[in-house]
Amino acid sequence: MPEATLSPGAQTVDPPDDKTPVVEFNDVSITFDVKPVLQNISFSVDRGQTLILLGPAGTGKSVLLKLANGLLGPDSGSIRIFGQEITTMPERDLYKLRARIGMVFQESALFDSLNVEDNVAYRLHEEGVPEAEARARVVEALKFVELEQTIDKYPSELSGGMRRRVSIARAIITGPDLILYDSPTGGLDPITSTTIMELVMKQRDVSHTTSLLVTHRLQDAFILATHRFDAAAGMVELPKDGPNHGIDESTKFLILNEGSIVFHGSTEELVHSTDPWIQRFLE
């Protein structure tokens, strides 16, 4: 995998010594019709951290991600993103805040009527970035996901894995401070899934972007926690030495079951958990 770095986006980046959590959920609950989807969810994600959301299907992982982006509003509780309360924020202000957030959707959610270039440059076009600069940044983002040859193609001409990679390029093009990945490997074959996880890892280890990643594939979650992207070598490696057996300290796990948090902690804590439900889930 070639080395690639993205130019920082046009958005203001908070000072590095800012200790405010990037994402903070406090006692958040949401109900659809009469069915409670999330109940009393509280957790926070610090700057540079990657939080992997695990859990059986239908436990509200994707809903949690949409709450974090303000695409859904909770029934109760508080959600703070970059220290700003978003549950009471008008939609107009949310659009400005979302300029700092990248999101990769479950089924890619690329716009069918636009080609890859226009899909990836969508936000740049909305911001009025000059065409030449937008094109250069699209090429850069597509190089990051190794799909620069698809720039003129339409989403219908791409495979599922390619669409997912274009979706990642679209999410990272502005150099966001927070990336939300909603099942980026869902429905993909194991080889393509590994490619996608390598891209997530690369973004984490090269740009140190705070991220929330929903997945139902344990192997993907553990690859992300145990492997690193070596920018110098341009490839993913399994660290053999270093503290904590080389496991990435900034990658944490949050496990949901039936709308409630059953685990929140590090990889080590998860592996050594004595909770019978978690042990069964990991098996």
Binding site: K66, N69, L71, E91, Y95, K96, R98, A99, I101, M103, F105, Q106, E107, A109, L110, F111, D112, Y122, R123, E126, R170
Partner: protein, 259 residues
């Protein structure tokens, strides 16, 4: 399948009216405040206006033909066959032109809007648009609203013109009427109030088609089956509303201009 309680049903309908009103108000406010998506407006004008020309021409033309054929039988009894042009022109301009154009565009475009936006909704493209900092109502609904209202006005004029021409063709070649007399009585019978009435209706119909089509599209749930359901609902609701609003506008216009 259990029936919902009347209370739940009424609440759902009130919520739907509230959501429709909010969507319509937001779409209208998008006309007067930036950002404006001119490229999308022109694309929709091409799709709705130019794309609908063949069906509008055919509908208008054949309606005029049938109207002439049907009316001449009744007019013969009163010895007023020469009034055929007047009857066709008044019927087309005041009523049939606006209503039939509205119904045809509803079938073609309200369905198209509901299915397109519905597909975007179920594939999370609307969420992606919001996540990318764009208001889907401004980007998708406002351009369709502007394009439909603007183009339906002109499509109605085209339908009226082809209807009168169709009536003329039948009157001259099948009924043996004098072409000059037909066109003269058509022209003389139309007064200012008739034309205003006929051209006010498409403004309301255009608004109904765009907002109802987009509303059902944006509220789609339940995958591809939901898209089909939304499309059907959009056509049914917009068609019924067009006819109801036609009655209200007609009454209001009679109140303003008389007869």
């Amino acid at each position: 399948m259990s029936l919902p309680s009347p209370e739940v049903y009424i609440k759902k309908q009130i919520v739907a009216v509230q959501e429709y009103s909010i969507l319509s108000a937001t779409a209208i406010s998008g006309i007067f405040t930036p950002p404006r998506y001119w490229a999308d407006i022109f694309t929709q004008m091409d799709s709705i206006g130019v794309g609908s020309m063949p069906i509008i021409i055919l509908t208008g033309f054949f309606t005029g033909c049938v109207l002439a054929l049907q009316s001449v039988t009744a007019l013969k009894e009163f010895g007023a066959v020469s009034m055929t042009g007047s009857l066709v022109a008044l019927s087309m301009v005041k009523e049939l032109g606006p209503v039939l154009t509205g119904l045809m565009i509803s079938g073609r475009n309200a369905a198209g809007m509901a299915s397109e936006l519905g597909s975007m909704k179920v594939t999370e493209q609307l969420d992606a648009m919001r996540a990318l900092g764009t208001d889907p109502i401004r980007k998708l609904v406002t351009p369709r609203l502007i394009a439909t209202v603007f183009m339906l006005f002109f499509l109605t004029i085209i339908a009226d013109a082809f209807g009168i021409a169709g009536g003329a063709l039948v009157s001259v070649y099948l009924l043996g009427l004098n072409a000059s007399s037909y066109l003269h009585t058509s022209y003389r019978s139309l007064v200012y109030g008739d034309v205003v009435q006929g051209l006010t209706k498409p403004l309301f119909s255009g608004f109904i088609i765009a907002t109802v089509g987009c509303y059902f599209g944006m509220k789609t749930t339940g995958g591809t089956q939901g898209v089909g359901r939304a499309t059907t609902q959009a056509v049914v609701v917009s068609s019924v509303l067009i006819i109801v609003v036609d009655l209200l506008v007609t009454r209001a216009m009679i109140g303003i201009f008389g007869s």
